[in-house]
Symmetry: none
Subunit: 399 residues, 2 copies
Amino acid sequence: MQDVVSDLIIRNDKRIVLLVMDGVGGLPQEKGGKTELETANTPNLDALAVEGECGLHLPIGFGITPGSAPGHLALFGYQPTDYPIGRGVVAALGIAFPIQSGDVAVRVNFATRDEEGRITDRRAGRIPTEKCAELCELLSAVTIPGVEIFIKPVKDYRAVVVFRGQGLSDHVADTDPQATGVKPHDPKATSANGKKTAEVAGQFIRQALELLKDRHPTNAVLVRGFAELPHIPSMEERFGLDPVVLAVYPDYKGVSRLVGMDVVEDLQGLDAQAAALRENWDRYTFFFVHHKYTDSRGEDGDFKAKVAEIEKVDSFVPRILDLKPDVLLVTGDHSTPAVMRAHSAHPVPFLLHARNLRPDAAAEFGERSCAAGLWGVIPGFMLMRLALSAAEKLAKFGA
Amino acid sequence: MQDVVSDLIIRNDKRIVLLVMDGVGGLPQEKGGKTELETANTPNLDALAVEGECGLHLPIGFGITPGSAPGHLALFGYQPTDYPIGRGVVAALGIAFPIQSGDVAVRVNFATRDEEGRITDRRAGRIPTEKCAELCELLSAVTIPGVEIFIKPVKDYRAVVVFRGQGLSDHVADTDPQATGVKPHDPKATSANGKKTAEVAGQFIRQALELLKDRHPTNAVLVRGFAELPHIPSMEERFGLDPVVLAVYPDYKGVSRLVGMDVVEDLQGLDAQAAALRENWDRYTFFFVHHKYTDSRGEDGDFKAKVAEIEKVDSFVPRILDLKPDVLLVTGDHSTPAVMRAHSAHPVPFLLHARNLRPDAAAEFGERSCAAGLWGVIPGFMLMRLALSAAEKLAKFGA
């Protein structure tokens, strides 16, 4: 199906705005109650829902709880299961490391070994992140000719190392033995392509062990999840869009870069995002505006604060409408119900606003209202097609 | 997608109950009326529908009327079109023959031939089942060295033969010429693997013809649909579940065995099923409870009696809830509207009850109410994903 869409792409200057309230989908606090979105006072979004087409989307699929990166890939028009993002890349994106095509990113765990080199603790007593940062600083002394090495702390005992150079590949097996009392594996190539990277990883580990030898309990490293950037066709290539991301948090800039978006840096919140939207309005045809704090307050378990974040975004909506976008799509990358304090698999409400839409029964922007909307429950990556179509960017199929 | 789910499986001790009212979906008796399920007084199911998530499912696909075996495969989480069950195996499962891996099951039709061996009636005058049983008894005298042979009546002129032995295969073509006035084909191997079985089938037919030679009009046999058990990954393997079936009828135990369920034998009805559920509660994580008579009364065309069966199941529901299952899924394997006296392709109502579900508009358990529920019309095999997710048995996809 995807190729069908690529063949129909019409490049025009109509503008699509994708407004994402991260983790917006929710649940009632008590039986019979309303969700966060249903509770929030959202006159602007409600008006758009009445005029527009509504529904719910599944970012990955039935029953699957989305991570942030695949949840966003879906919103950018890509079926996430077609583009698995390896563990090392996830780690690098998660700390906003500017990973490039050809880089190989690998998760590093600081660990403890005994005098024979056997692993006694795969997590080095779960050291704090500050300690991890200090050790990464130490390991930045590792040098390998022809290869740039970046080692950065992630969280607790976890770090990420990125190798940059010619001829690298992620075809290398983990060294983590997944058990204690045994020695780590040597990094082994899983195909001929992986040979050079396996050697590079071997050198990295040997130098790291030397640097860490007096640092019990953090006197070992285990590496796992060798990963290259997935080869995702850009949004320009696939959808004929000139896309830009207006986000505060590095993770979302990272996943946007994966699909070839330009990035506006140093945006501190909705005011800055509104200003950047206006400033860049003539330069792009697709604007991804991301609001993180709906998700953050959901993860905190703070129902009221999540409601307040939704209301902040509602107040921001007129500043988008002032620019008269041809298409406005408002949704989330997944649900983060405050009562669950976590991402969840529940379908995510969306509204599509443009000219020439089919009226439906959705009377406001909320989970139940969207369930009564035109579209029912649809795959997340199909939203891009609806947006492209509403922006007259898809030609007729057949005569 | 299926592999994605397998990669996300979390094994925990949360318990899922799948309560199947066979053929529960229905139609009104007269225009403007209610369906069987809508007519039934079901306070317990209605309460669950209000609290839970509702929808309709298509066991096989749009417009496809499900047989019992594929209808249940869908409920067990398998897309039935990925696991075709050959005609011989369907026949063997249908009479609850305990077919084993490696067996080859074949449909047998008693037929009539003339003195030259040409088929004059492919159905031997549609003899009654009792006559068929008597002929199967006669044919049980067939012996082939190294092969166990089981021949059992199915219905009317139809029987099934199961060959058990080393090196058998279903790569053998039908002998039924699908026409009269011609001789049956010899059983021919369709690949090298089928050679031994073709010879076995040839011997079986020759001995059968000898035993039947004075039995006009049932003096011939035609065989078709050579089939082995399909290789279906078990529910343990695919979903990390420890499953058990609590069913009265052999067919449902048969299809459950196909996906590796344990079977509790000698259950005579809902009381025994409730007791068995309680007794086995600590031993399993997935319980399939099957009620046959909703379908039977539908096939009888007895609307009122089907309503009464639904009400019996409703009264049984509190005995499940007493055990506090983490997830309860109530549905059917297909529709059997009494007005049609047969399975039908109509979507089947379902309700999912668990913690942390999205409230929806379903105000009772019925076809129209479920159509207004959260999920709309979804593929049947996706219900397992919703149940696994609600039981916290699926990890997040990506970071």
